[in-house]
Symmetry: C2
Subunit: 208 residues, 2 copies
């Protein structure tokens, strides 16, 4: 049986946090024999993302197949979801059996609440780095993405795309990652607008 | 009244084609006084994107407000939509009154069908460059994004993100683009997997 990859959704999930990885993962699935990838949320009903996009999850927690991979995106919704014991239990239970668990942006705060992040290296959106550090038991790394064994985490929003490519390379090889990168034409021009790297809040990987 | 920015959806639209720009545009709207941004499709009912994500459009063509900006994403669905006269008429009519019209990936083929691209500089996904050239009346430019007056177009899928930042910079200034870029933490690491740039099908901007 094909491996199963769940992408967690919840009200207030940041759109690009999950659609960036989703695009890469579905290319892996559809053209390169990657895991079967689908969305899962607590309720199988329309859900409003952080910026208002309305999406319909494929599965709810009850009918979600056992997962081999789980991706937890971020967004303002995580501020509430860390206190949603049903969601945290779902992530804890499914995550414990997963081959790999990934977070994007403030999704790392949801992972933390399950206990999966204790003592591990992880990151989050630059604006939430002080909050992640304040939790006290996470080794916060100010890089674009970081992995620690079976846990992968990325910085904010679009950083999930950057994380997904080395993740696919690790799971399926560089040649597969190359085809996914080409399919999504992910060759950014790297242009920087203004000088955010000079801002004291900028993450270490951006500072001069 | 605020300016109105419509993001076109249709069955088979590629997810990242529209969510990449959407993320940037909504940050501009929500935090930096940008245009009011929403999705619009022929029918106001759930719609399956190219990779199976199900989304609910904000407006249908009949109730869509007059637009100041219109973004036309791509995806396999464009192969059918170029022959959908209701959709092509919507893009032509709304596009004619827009301050700017943008396309991502194979969205340029929809724009072409309206007549808006005739004699203009434009681009598309690398895999569709020969098809765009074969149309005969488009000046095909193999760059990550290109603008020609009020028409902006980008290369494939993720290139829409790259296009949206200079677009915002052009409309609202570099300082606003900087804040949007930082908000979405769009500072890709630029890593290339394999050597797609050596492929004869690679777009000019990637070739050595």
């Amino acid at each position: 049986m094909k491996q199963q990859f769940g992408v967690l959704l919840f009200p207030g999930v940041e759109e690009l946090d999950f659609v960036g990885p989703w695009e890469m993962l579905k290319m892996w699935e559809r053209f390169l024999d990657g895991p079967t990838c689908f969305t899962v949320a607590q309720h199988r009903q329309p859900l409003a993302c952080a910026n208002g996009l309305s999406v319909n999850p494929d599965y709810d927690f009850a009918d979600c197949p056992p997962l081999d991979y789980l991706l937890v995106p971020g967004g303002m919704g995580t501020r509430l979801e860390v206190d949603n014991i049903v969601l945290v239990d779902f992530v804890r239970t499914q995550g414990a059996r997963c081959r790999k668990v990934l977070s994007v942006c403030t999704g790392s705060f949801v992972l933390h609440r399950t206990g999966l992040l204790a003592g591990r290296r992880a990151t989050t959106h630059w604006g939430s780095l002080p909050r992640l550090r304040a939790l006290g038991d996470v080794q916060v790394v100010e890089e674009r993405y970081v992995f620690d064994g079976d846990l992968w985490s990325s910085a904010g929003v679009s950083a999930g795309i950057d994380m997904t490519l080395p993740f696919i390379a690790a799971e399926a090889g560089e040649a597969v990652a190359m085809k996914v990168q080409a399919g999504a034409e992910f060759f950014p021009d790297g242009r920087r607008y203004g000088r955010f790297g000079d801002d004291p809040r900028a993450p270490a990987y951006l500072r001069p």
